[in-house]
């Protein structure tokens, strides 16, 4: 078995362990140490680019797993001479790890609840308070007790950004930041490469932003003209596919685009 693993996909070693427990359908209260340890090792080997900071956390967990595994390998009871170890045997070496995993799992679930709440509160909007300072005479305003901290200030700033965001398109629609056709040609080609050389026409338009849609469309036309891509459609009204026809040299983008 081989895996494609990205570090960003996991929020740390506990998250990775939970993922493995889930996938292997292991009982969290009865973790098969040998299995999970080897899977965990495979995963951290597969994580190619680990930031040093994070790597250390994953490695510490690897060491913990190995040490638990080796403790588990000790025979449960041998002969009477081992009686001293009796107490230790009663304490499952996995206990601490299990309780950590369970604790973490709780908050991971709580986080996904928060995410749902975030989504549903994105469904309604409010407005900033009306600026009433015109009703207020300045002297009174200066006497006004300001009972705030740095975080209130940051909060106010965030609120302002949210407000800005709301009115932005009405002002910006007039002159939007321009993406050049040349740049967009590059993007289309690299998207196609990532998609294995063939993608549905619609996959190339993930945005609803008008300017980008227009630029992408123009860049597709240009790419077709240069025979870098080809459009395929099995029959009328079927889905359109865009195919990458050849390896593209960087220099090919430099040619002048006739307007």
């Amino acid at each position: 078995m081989s895996y494609e693993v990205k570090t960003e996909a996991f929020e740390g070693p506990l998250d990775l362990l939970l993922h493995l427990i889930n996938r292997l359908e292991i009982d969290i209260y009865d973790i098969k140490m040998a299995e999970i340890t080897s899977q965990y090792m495979e995963h951290i080997h597969a994580m190619r680019v680990l930031e040093l900071n994070e790597a250390s956390e994953y490695l510490v967990m690897a060491a913990t797993l190995l040490s638990i595994k080796s403790k588990m390998l000790l025979p449960i009871h041998q002969d009477d001479e081992m009686e001293e170890d009796f107490d230790i045997q009663l304490n499952d070496p996995r206990d601490e790890l299990v309780s950590k995993l369970i604790e973490y799992k709780k908050y991971k679930e709580a986080a996904s609840n928060l995410q749902e709440m975030e989504e549903s509160s994105n469904l309604f909007y409010t407005k900033p308070p009306t600026d009433l300072s015109n009703y207020q005479d300045s002297q009174q305003l200066a006497l006004f007790e300001l009972d705030v901290n740095v975080y209130d200030m940051l909060g106010a700033f965030q609120k302002m950004l949210r407000r800005k965001q709301l009115s932005a398109p009405l002002h910006t629609r007039i002159s939007k930041q321009e993406v050049s056709i040349k740049d967009q040609m590059r993007t289309v080609v690299s998207t196609l490469k990532l998609g294995g050389g063939k993608l549905s026409f619609y996959d190339l338009f993930p945005t609803r932003d008008k300017t980008t849609i227009v630029t992408t469309f123009l860049s597709l036309l240009e790419l077709m003209k240069r025979q870098i891509v080809q459009i395929e459609q099995k029959s009328n009204f079927e889905e359109l596919f865009v195919l990458l026809r050849k390896e593209v040299m960087e220099s090919e983008f430099d040619d002048e685009i006739d307007e």
């Binding site: 709780k106 709580a110 986080a111 928060l114 900033p128 009306t130 940051l154 909060g155």
Partner: protein, 197 residues
């Protein structure tokens, strides 16, 4: 009757002006020169009326310990045409995890958060503080006097919560039964073990 109507009008004016600051019932009573009873009753009438009247585009919602106007969810699409990147603002997984821990265990230090998550969490805490969702609420006892974090009013506002108690209960420690089963098993196992000896 006439005075209730005027009260409705006053409350509508006040809630409109205060926007996402909102107003508490107490403030509404004070500002409208009315009684708590009347304000309560009128607010209830208004809440029902706004909700069920198809001509209305706003409703009254209890958010962050206050009453506020918010838009009806069914109109979200036309409002989002006003917004540049409707989804780009959402919080990262790391931030959500840290926020969940802070929300349920506040006041809490950074080290305690990192202990639960098993990873460094400085950056998500910074991001959350910068977004005004968490704040310093004090210092822990003992050496080092680590910063204690808690959630803000903006947190309640952001997640559409009436107050901190309105947070859904923390997901319980997986099925308790399962655990008891295991315990039972363990006990039996131990018994067997002891008998063997």
């Amino acid at each position: 009757m006439n005075s209730t109507m005027k009260l409705m009008s006053k409350i509508e004016s006040l809630l409109f002006v205060s926007g996402d600051d909102g107003l508490t019932k107490k403030q509404l009573v004070f500002l409208t020169d009315s009684t708590e009873e009347l304000v309560t009753e009128t607010l209830e009438t208004m809440m029902i009326e706004y909700e069920k009247n198809d001509n209305r585009g706003i409703i009254i919602k209890q958010l962050a310990e206050t009453y506020q106007f918010v838009t009806k969810t069914e109109n979200v699409q036309c409002i989002q045409k006003l917004v540049e990147n409707p989804t780009s603002q959402s919080l990262s997984q790391a931030s959500l995890e840290v926020l969940a821990i802070i929300a349920y265990k506040q006041p809490i230090t950074r080290v305690e958060i990192e202990d639960i998550r098993g990873v460094k969490s400085e950056r998500p805490i910074y991001t959350l503080a910068a977004k005004g969702l968490v704040q310093e609420v004090g210092r822990a006892e003992g050496t080092g006097r680590a910063i204690l974090y808690g959630t803000t009013t903006e947190f309640l506002q952001y997640f559409g919560l009436k107050n901190i108690k309105a947070l859904p209960p923390l997901p319980e420690e997986i099925a308790i039964d399962e655990m008891e089963d295991t315990d039972l098993f363990m006990t039996k196992f131990q018994e067997a073990f002891v008998t063997q000896e």
